[in-house]
């Protein structure tokens, strides 16, 4: 088997029946077959009986192809699509509490908040809590810059994504 060795991050979007067993099967698939998930995000779609799961998984092309096929086998799964190379909207929400004990730090955080289009959503004597929405790179870059100031606590949602509405294309590919 000629397995290509580039381990890229893939973003996979799954439409699934909104049922507890469905999510359990998807998560178990990853553990039982030894695939790694970086993040996984679930929420319902415009149709409340259908959920969209967006997951980020790392692996070579062969592994990702297997993940997609194994996901399609699950009875409750409607559609699976690897969005990695598609034109897509791809966002993540970050909430981070940053140490700002000094006026210089306060100023620096505010500057970064402005540049990144983030928002300060909570304030205490010595912390700012910032909310940022962006693609993964933006979120990573922001974190990199504020790290030296001291991060108290943070939460990331993991990515959610949707194909861009080019040429009337929506979710596309039927379950095979």
């Amino acid at each position: 088997m000629d397995r290509k060795c580039d381990h890229r991050k893939h973003i996979i979007s799954v439409l699934v029946e909104n049922q507890p067993g469905a999510l359990a099967r998807i998560i178990e698939l990853f553990s039982s077959r030894g695939y790694n998930i970086e993040s996984l995000n679930v929420g319902h779609t415009e149709d409340p009986t259908i959920s969209r799961i967006t997951m980020v998984a790392k692996g070579d092309e062969h592994t990702i192809e297997q993940i997609v096929k194994q996901l399609r086998r699950i009875i409750d799964v409607f559609k699976v699509r690897d969005l990695t190379d598609k034109k897509k909207l791809d966002r993540e929400l970050l909430i981070v509490r940053i140490n700002v004990e000094t006026p210089e730090k306060k100023e620096e955080v505010m500057r970064l908040v402005e540049i990144f289009g983030a928002q300060v959503v909570d304030v205490s004597k010595d912390t700012y809590t910032v909310e940022l929405t962006g693609d993964e790179e933006q979120v990573d870059a922001f974190l990199e810059l504020i790290k030296p100031m001291g991060i108290r606590e943070m939460a990331r949602t993991g990515r959610v994504a949707m194909v861009r509405a080019l040429h009337g294309e929506t979710f596309g590919e039927q379950k095979e």
Binding site: M1, V16, G21, E28, Q66, I75, D76, K175
Partner: protein
């Protein structure tokens, strides 16, 4: 009219065409068992829930219908687990119903509560927990549909006790309408373009080989595949699960491939330039060292499960679809291509001759004896006495491999064996299910002394219902297959494989109400088999005391490539046994 959940379940089973159920009652399924006697459904009380699952599995494998089993909550459900996993990995359609504690107690660690759907999720194609009696009929309908369509498999339906007690409306006409599962639409027809490409590749290959798996048997494609081999001059090799697709004596048939496959089958695969894999999944027991498996071959892979295609071996021409439906399209295409290109016969003649020479030079072989019973000899004799027409079930171990090698099957679904999971204890209960499904056939379970002891209580079930199965215990006083590995790869350090302490199987079976027989010398084998064949109202178990340290050959050592087989010691051979 309002019916209880239990009544709805049983009525739905009837509407699904279910006739036989294998099961075991308990507190959580009392309401179901209370109504059961008032239905035409025939229930077999096995002596262990594992037996019920294997019997349902055996029934399904020989009939092609869905097998059904019942168990109570907690320990009943966990006892089913091995049986369900065995069926699932071999793609056998089984629907299991388990009771559970009432819905309001779920999650409370109530008496005999386990998370049955959680435990069985990884070993089922799908499973359901029914929380409202109003969903019950629809769920049963979906369960059968999922089990029998696409790649067949196991579906479990967990029924809390209150769901089986509560009343609701049941509309038979509505039940009979087609199932709608919006997220489940298996692809059955192959892609026409791919089928054309496959036909061209088949007609132009020089050294093609058919690699036939269990999917050929279960989809009913056997005749079409054999026809294609004949039309296009292609040698055939089969997996353990696919063995019965081809008549054992077919001149193009090389037997089983893989770890204990024949020399000819393994060499033909290794030297082929085109593998036509149908309903097979390139399992590690088949391929040996994957990176050295058939290094020069292109692969056509036909399978109903797209996830199997390209999983272990890259497919040059993948075709997703039901083996039979694909073969119906592919065969005429191949006929067309072959008619166009007459020259290929000449090229292929060389290949056929080469494959034949392998078959003749390195046949299956064992050293015969008139002193001790050779296990292979017992299997040959069973074949003779049953005229090759018996349904054979096996357990797991050396005896299973000797069955695969020495019993020449005549028709599809004739072999019932645990291929994927390799479950010791499968043979006896599976034979019960097989005999219930095919009462017209002799059903012979070929077991080992170790395996038999894993579910021997099911002999009582066979006695209870006068199910006249035959069991041959190939008694080598060892966990033979494990001993063989310890012998070859662990310097004969035999650790925990001696079965010197054993029940007297003859007395044991007699005590259970069956007939016990024994043979200790080669000269007794035929007579004892004939005696067994004459009994048709009770199970018979024959204890064959065989050569203790016979090994199964050929053998591909673990991690080795298919052509690196250890062969039998032909050097000493007195008499050559042809395949």
């Amino acid at each position: 009219m309002k019916l209880s959940g239990a009544e709805i379940l049983l009525r739905a089973l009837e509407l699904e065409g279910v006739e036989k159920i294998f099961g075991y009652p308990g507190g959580a399924v009392l309401d179901i068992y209370d109504r059961l006697p008032f239905t035409p459904l025939k229930h077999y009380l096995t002596r262990h829930e594992q037996g019920a699952a294997h019997a349902a599995d055996g029934y399904a494998r020989v009939t092609g219908k869905v097998g059904v089993c019942f168990a109570t909550s907690g320990p009943g459900a966990t006892n089913l687990v091995t049986g369900l996993a065995t069926a699932q990995i071999d793609s056998v359609p089984v629907v299991a119903f388990t009771g559970n504690v009432p819905t309001f107690m779920i999650g409370n660690d109530a008496f005999q509560e386990v998370d049955t759907v959680g435990i069985t999720r990884p070993i089922t194609k799908h499973n359901f927990l029914v929380k409202d009696v109003k969903d019950l009929a629809d769920t049963v309908k979906k369960a059968f549909h999922i089990a029998r369509t696409g790649r067949p498999g196991v579906v479990l339906v967990d029924l809390p006790k209150d769901v089986t007690r509560e009343l609701t409306d049941f509309f038979e006409e509505e039940y009979k309408t087609p199932v709608q599962i919006r997220s489940y639409k298996p692809v059955l027809k192959g892609h026409p373009g791919q089928i054309k490409r496959a036909a061209k590749a088949i007609a132009s290959a020089e050294r093609p080989i058919l690699y036939i798996g269990g999917g050929v048997v279960s989809s009913g494609a056997s005749d079409l595949v054999v026809k294609m081999a004949e039309v296009a001059n292609i040698p055939m090799a089969a997996t353990l699960m696919g063995l019965t697709a081809v008549p054992g004596n077919h001149p193009f048939f090389l037997g089983m491939l893989g770890m204990h496959g024949t020399y000819a089958a393994n060499m033909a695969i290794q030297e082929s330039d085109l593998i036509i894999a149908i309903g097979a999944r390139f399992d590690d027991r088949v391929t040996g060292k994957l990176s050295e498996f058939a290094p020069n071959a292109k692969v056509i892979h036909i399978d109903i499960d797209s996830a199997e295609i390209g999983k272990n071996r890259h497919a040059d021409i993948p075709i997703v679809g039901d083996a039979k439906l694909v073969m119906e399209e592919l065969l005429p295409e191949v006929e067309k291509q072959v008619a166009k290109n007459r020259e290929f016969y000449a090229a292929r003649e060389k290949w056929i001759l080469k494959v034949r020479s392998w078959k003749e030079r390195y046949p299956l072989w064992y050293e015969p004896s008139d002193r001790v019973i050779k296990p292979q000899f017992v299997i040959e004799k069973i074949w003779e006495v049953t005229k090759g027409e018996a349904i054979i079930t096996t357990d797991v171990g050396q005896h299973q491999m000797w069955v695969a090698q020495y019993y020449k099957f005549r028709f599809p679904r004739q072999l019932v064996t645990s291929g994927g999971l390799g479950t010791m204890g499968f043979g006896v209960p599976a034979a019960i299910g097989a005999k219930v499904g095919r009462p017209d056939k002799t059903v012979f379970c070929i077991s080992g002394d170790g395996s038999f002891q894993m579910n021997m209580q099911e002999i009582v079930t066979a006695v209870h219902y006068n199910i006249p199965i035959k069991v041959a215990i190939i008694n080598n006083g060892f966990l033979g297959m494990v001993r063989q590995w310890q012998g070859i790869f662990y310097q004969k350090n035999y650790s925990q494989v001696h079965l010197d302490v054993q029940p007297d199987f003859v007395k044991l079976v007699e005590a259970m109400g069956g007939v016990g027989l024994r043979a200790t010398k080669p000269a007794e084998v035929e007579a004892v088999l004939k005696e067994a064949m004459a009994i048709d109202d009770r199970p018979v178990v024959i204890d064959f005391i065989v050569d203790r340290e016979e090994d199964v050959f050929p053998m591909v050592p673990p991690g080795g490539a298919l052509h690196e087989m250890i062969l039998p010691n032909y050097g000493k051979k007195k008499e050559k046994k042809a395949v």
